[in-house]
Subunit: 349 residues, 4 copies
């Protein structure tokens, strides 16, 4: 089968691989539609180290091609979506309520990390009954593919933020995860959502997804501006959706004492991530810093699909470009360049 | 009345002041016994900036000397203890469940910060009905004075750590707050408490308060050692009871993915507090960092007194020295020097 | 001043009373607009026992007429709304996070229960700084008056229901509290809201407030129907917004194991409230039953006002009738009769 | 192999059965020590309906005899304990944090309910990696067998009770689950534990496990007495460890507004379980009623074993009688009769 792989840092290519085989609890999915993630680009650039002949990609929907002997909920031919994170549900971390950390730190992240990803004609899904979800008839593949990571991660940023009903939230960065954090904050009952972003197209989408105020950090100091907007009080919660030390510091600074800083950013470099000491109340201001890795699982995926089906969120506004699988390299180049107003490039198989 | 004041950074003296007057909701407490806190020493050294003629001290028990017109639960002559933190209970932060942050960041901390402290013949207590607690007959003043701050803060470190029943906990630093975090971890159901400390007297007390293992950070690398002790898994929770960037980094490093870092340390210097990026799972390992400022309030104080009364904890093991009020300056010098095995010096009025 | 009072069970009348006086922490509010609540009708019919010459009413906005010496956030002439529940914020229950229970069971409920209510030319507000909220310019009195009770109680029903993002919720009864529970479920991220109601006007409003499905319990068995709608799984949460034993039983029956039954109904009669044993999993199905009394406080009120100001909810759709204060008796009769499609009658002063 | 089975309501016998075979994720355990549970007796008497030739028993430790192809953590010959509840960890309920409800209401309860139990020479364990735990060398089989159900269920009663540090707790009934709830309340930081029990031997054990006060419900009205002991306030939490409607009513009555009623009782009869309306605050006193079915899983079992190993709890005090497997029928008769001061009869294979 054809697979789009990373072969050493900075090197990608289309190659021929053997179709994977399912174990008793697994399934083989034949992708129909996939999305490219900024983290795919980071991976190629070496963020998780060297990898040889590793198939890329972790956001895909498709059709079940084969199932293992113990799989009960899926059969060949079923339309299905698989989470970007595919936990081992019996693991110690999953028993403790942290399935994304199953088998070790970030251990639920298997696609294009511990094993081949989804940019291939066939992809292997571990624990298929728990990691795949059926796609309702009323949801298209192009919509459903957003639940793999963008909705799950962005919404988790909002869910973990402990937003009080009617509370104020600042969401830093309006890439696809930040946009979904903005939407997620609305779905969690925020009374005022302040989106921090400088790119006009992203500002526009942020408004469509529910931001009440836009703070352009290139035009104003976002910390000052957010304090102004909140009469000096600060926000109930801030969401970091970028993975930059500076942005995290701003999150801490704009959050009121007793508020929550919810991180869904991936910090790609540096030895430490530095928290501003005084703004953090010298460690005693009850500004908790909580983090998450994209939640997976059939139940999570099913509920996110229901939100799309019920019209609560239309993720396709984020699809700015489309490519055929054979041209996926172009899609990577676009995602790396961040040019042409790209938010998410969609890939068709 | 006599009061022991700070008058500019580095300067302390006994001086004459006017006895405070209560507003309608307040009381005047006449201290009988007090404790000196490391943070008193920090304050004198400038940690919270310049202060003029500010009475020091925030840990005291005594006798109610006068109450305001609206006070209902206390009368002249009542034995009572007042929390180190005396929130405004109707404030926005208190309504939100963060009374220690009432009126602004760390705003519940009034004694020896926003107003005169308790090292005086009389001390003013705001919102007396909610901030004082009656002392049961079975509890001595010398025991009760520990609930003001040491038990409340140390136990909060354990309570916030979300320790699973039978879980593993590492407590970094076994000063009085750390010792009470160790005891608190036991009272919260920890199955294994690992105390990190190098001073032999403190190691000994840590064992008495329930530590199962002692890690001497001067003899071994505590991160390596704790991973060894936990078969490479890390602990369910780590408690920072010192206020050092290095120790916080160690806490992050020894905590398993999905675990909790609970901070009760006060970070006294530096522009930032730095978190180790990789050990923190590049921001996605679900290692939450939670913080607290000593919880106050009559309900909290009452429950802590009950633990003493019921024999669950004997805080007086931490009282290493005693002084009369007129000699309080000597007590400060001892606390500053950390000599003679000092843990807590008690002051009698 | 004129006041509309209950004088023995079943007896109401307009009468002359002395204007109340504020204590140091209190304020006097001059109502401009009020709402009549079903519970006012229950009170008149004896639900909380005999009362003599007690002013009725607990939902009002108005203008601050006078403040006590310790009040800081309000001045004469301020537009303000007061919660139906006015806690004592320093009480033991409030310190424990249950302000509505301050001073004893349901003790935060003072208006028209422990003291005179708001159906008078002037009303006394205890702890004014914490129990009043300023009304933003963009919110009318006719909108603001809904935050006193209807939004606060209805939304609490949804907030306590622990609705997972995209989860399914059944809301039993679509009176004003139920309608706001329906709206609240949407604001809390529900993916599917099933409203149980038989009155066409209320069904219609339920749809406007966000119900995805309506179950008419007079046409079908609601338990069967909800199981059908959820493929036999049951809902993640059920909200009881009526106060009927039968409805609570249905809530238990339609909630999946591990789900939540959130009660905001007031059970007005009978010695016991009976839970169906088998549907409750013989006490082991992890179907928690949680309850609430309308949350009060300036912070809560302020956040609810923000939701109105931001256009997230328009409560005025529930105002079916209007009366002048002098005709308030007619409003009571209408509310008691439930005729003419009444949902909420508004009273102008 | 020999198995002790129920064959119709009221009928038990020793019989010959085929040794079970493991699927790919399963293991076969050869029991060494088991305990008889009151619920085994209920089962025989028809509590869960008719069963034919069903092997009884759900509390056992033993030696792993065989493992399926996918099992990684266990090998033939390992000493291991299996939980009474053996969830399917990938199920929807488990993903939602309720593994004991996996596959339907109480669906994690498989032994002696959905499949053969452990009173046999060999027992089948589903999802062995997640449902078995290794027994540390420092823990005997006779100790370890208590983590299957008694410690897990009793402690859960305390964990779910949301006991504040130093809070007051009432535990109704001091059978083995109640005794472990008493111990659990102590391990969760309760400042005062009130045990309700009339049998002298159980009262004595309750004291040994940490009860501060004993209330003999045959000598006094427990509701009155507990209100007296708490100065009329009621307790922060009450734990129902019997499964009687009357006891649950008492739990509701003694719990303060805002407190928690934690149920681990199994209600074996009647159409409804009735809650006292007024004591429950007419549904608005914020007295939540939470329930649980014995938590299972290797992580849970491992932490409970650690508490035994560390000497925090000695469960063997509850072992009042011992029997060989061939005499298990006698043990059943004893458990049914509740004679001879029986608490737990242990069975040796």
């Amino acid at each position: 089968m054809q697979a789009f792989v990373m072969n050493g840092v900075g090197e990608t290519r289309m190659t021929e691989k053997e179709r994977p085989q399912p174990g008793p609890n697994d399934a083989i999915l034949k992708p129909t539609v996939a999305l490219i993630c900024t983290s795919d680009v980071h991976t190629v650039h070496g963020a998780i180290g060297e990898r040889e002949n590793l198939t890329l990609g972790h956001e895909a929907v498709g059709v079940v091609d084969e199932v293992g002997s113990e799989v009960e909920r899926f059969s060949e031919g079923d339309r299905a979506v698989v989470g970007a994170i595919t936990p081992e549900w019996g693991s110690a971390a999953a028993q403790d309520g942290h399935p994304s950390q199953s088998g070790g730190q970030l251990g639920g992240w298997k696609f294009a990390n511990e094993k081949d990803g989804v940019f291939a004609e066939y992809a292997h899904v571990n624990e298929a009954d728990a990691n795949l979800a059926h796609i309702p008839d009323g949801v298209t593949d192009e919509e459903a593919v957003y639940v793999c990571d963008m909705l799950s991660t962005g919404f988790a940023g909002a869910e973990n933020a402990a937003i009080p009903m009617g509370g104020t939230v600042a969401v830093f960065a309006q890439g696809p995860v930040g946009l979904m954090a903005t939407k997620g904050a609305r779905l969690q009952g925020a009374g005022r959502v302040i989106a921090v972003e400088s790119v006009p197209e992203r500002q526009e989408l942020a408004r469509e997804y529910g931001a009440d105020e836009i703070v352009d950090f290139e035009a104003v100091d976002p910390v000052e501006r957010i304090h102004e907007l909140t009469d000096g009080e600060g926000v109930d919660a801030a969401i970091e959706a970028l993975g930059s030390e500076e942005t995290l510091a701003d999150c801490v600074a704009v959050t009121k004492p007793g508020g929550t800083v919810s991180n869904v950013g991936y910090y790609g470099e540096g030895g430490t991530v530095d928290i501003p000491r005084e703004a953090w109340g010298v460690g005693m201001a009850e500004k908790d810093i909580v983090t998450d890795l994209c939640p997976g699982g059939s139940v999570r995926l099913g509920r996110l699909l229901r939100l799309i089906e019920a019209g609560r969120v239309d993720p396709t506004k984020m699809t700015t470009h489309e490519f055929d699988f054979e041209n996926i390299e172009e899609a990577f180049e676009l995602m790396a360049s961040k040019e042409d107003g790209v938010i998410k490039p969609l890939v068709r198989f």
